[in-house]
């Protein structure tokens, strides 16, 4: 970063910064009642939820902060937040 010239920084810092380490709770996608409403993917603030196929989602835990928004928004209560054990 160039502090002497307007605090110019390289872009793409959200990729470099692996926020998975912040997690206390971890979302578990049970994939049982999933109706592919896609809300978990849309609302994820990190953009780390991906649909693999119909009714099947995956989470990139390197970036998942464990915020729980996916579980809150899930229309079929198919996502469970469990205590992170390290």
């Amino acid at each position: 970063m160039r502090l002497d010239l307007g605090a110019i920084a390289k872009a793409g810092t959200s990729k470099a910064n692996q926020t998975g380490g912040w997690r206390n709770f971890k979302p578990i996608f049970h994939q049982k009642k999933c109706n592919s409403c896609d809300l978990c993917r849309i609302y994820c603030p990190e953009g780390c939820v991906t649909m693999i196929e119909k009714k099947k989602y995956t989470v990139d835990y390197a970036y998942c902060k464990g915020c729980g928004i996916c579980a809150e928004e899930c229309s079929s209560s198919d996502i469970e937040m469990v205590v992170e054990e390290k």
Binding site: M1, R2, L3, D4, L5, G6, A7, I8, A9, K10, A11, G12, T13
Partner: protein
């Protein structure tokens, strides 16, 4: 020297046009209007290859020029008064991101009460924003200053925005002989703008990124340091300009008959011309009077002012702005020049010409009389006694 009899606004617009700005964005407001109207006309007629971005407010105009400057485009805007105040939030960002935008601040009073006439309260209010501020005495200087402004701003050691301040109506709406600058001359004087960092999809960057307590203070320190470095650059660019065009209106300051003066009037902008006439009149009567023009207000050239005035007995500072609750702004900065020095002259401050009140020869004579007579004091001059109940 071949001059054109031309309105100040149009002379400025023509100089901006030959400076080859890639992007112009502005919102029209009296008395800045003629400048941007003319530029918009040049673009519409195909005479100027620039992107003229019409916007819905001055905040947007400032935001557009911030963005375009960050892409490495030479960028220009102009505003005044309320429009200027609306821009202020973005002005700090432009300076903080070290973007060399050039702006004309047409000086006008601020509301309320609403008043469209000239004083210098608008730009003075943004003196801490990190913009270099230059004040023009006449339309030749206002025009030439814009070309110099791009060169100062884009200097790789400076990279700070420059504001050219010119008195609304008094200069913008006055027709005077002005020597206009040709495209060929500009191309010799002003190299193309090639910033070290600019926004491009090929090399993604963030300008003005989040900086916490661990680094923010340093960003301010760097701007302050650069402001001081710009003192030399402003002088150098004025000297370069003098070499190429044969005209010199001063770099940081300009003086007129100050060398042997015992009383010197200090001011900024178009009032300087009127004062020069009075200096000559009083000199003819044997009174040793001179005038010092503060051309660069930010950075404030303390050393140059001290060097020019250290032999003087009395100083009268005339200014068209006020820091409400404190008093004159420029006068206190002039006083600070002498702090800790062996000799301090008597320094009087006068606030005058607010909201377009005409500054006449008599007004200026009155400031001189007051300075000679009174011990150091600050006051409004030219108040209408009938309106203030004779107090």
């Amino acid at each position: 020297m071949s001059t054109t009899f031309i309105e100040g606004s149009i002379a400025v617009a023509k100089t901006v046009a030959v400076s080859r700005p890639h992007v112009i964005s502005a919102y029209p407001i009296t008395p800045q209007t003629h400048i941007v109207e003319h530029l918009s006309e040049l673009v519409a007629n195909g005479e100027l290859k620039s992107e003229f971005v019409n916007v819905e407010s001055e905040h947007s105009a400032a935001s557009v020029v911030l963005g375009s400057s960050a892409t490495g485009a030479r960028t220009y805007t102009a505003t005044t008064s309320q429009g200027f105040l609306l821009m202020i939030e973005v002005l700090f960002n432009i300076a903080g991101m070290r973007l060399p935008v050039v702006m004309t601040c047409v000086n006008r009073a601020v509301s309320a009460p609403i008043n469209i006439w000239n004083d210098q309260q608008d730009s003075m209010t943004a003196r801490d924003s990190g913009w270099i501020q230059l004040y023009a005495e006449d339309n030749q200087e206002a025009s030439d200053m814009h070309l110099q402004a791009f060169k100062i701003a884009e200097n790789k050691d400076i990279m700070l925005p420059v504001m050219v301040c010119m008195d609304g109506f008094v200069l913008t709406h006055s027709f005077d002989p002005v020597e206009l600058i040709s495209q060929e001359q500009v191309d010799k004087f002003l190299p193309p703008f090639k910033p070290e960092y600019y926004l491009t999809p090929k090399n993604p960057l963030t300008f003005g990124t989040l900086v916490g307590p661990d680094g923010y203070m340093e960003t301010r320190y760097f701007i302050e340091k650069t402001m001081h470095a710009s003192l030399q650059v402003i002088s150098d660019v004025a000297a370069d300009f003098h070499n190429q065009f044969g005209r010199f209106q001063g770099g940081l300051i300009d003086t007129y008959k100050v060398e042997d003066a015992s009383l010197v009037l200090v001011a900024m902008g178009s009032i300087i011309g009127t004062i020069k006439d009075i200096v000559d009149e009083l000199r003819a009567k044997g009174q040793k009077v001179g005038v010092l023009k503060v051309r660069s207000y930010r950075p404030f050239p303390k050393d140059e002012i001290y060097k020019a005035l250290n032999h003087v007995k009395e100083i009268a500072v005339l200014e068209k702005a006020v820091s409400l609750g404190y008093g004159g702004i420029l006068v206190n900065e002039i006083k600070s020049v002498f702090y800790g020095k062996p000799k301090t002259p008597k320094i009087n401050g006068f606030i005058l010409g607010l909201g377009g009140r005409d500054i006449t020869v008599d007004t200026i004579h009155q400031t001189i009389k007051e300075t000679v007579k009174a011990s150091s004091e600050e006051k409004f001059i030219g108040l209408n006694e009938a309106l203030i109940g004779g107090k």
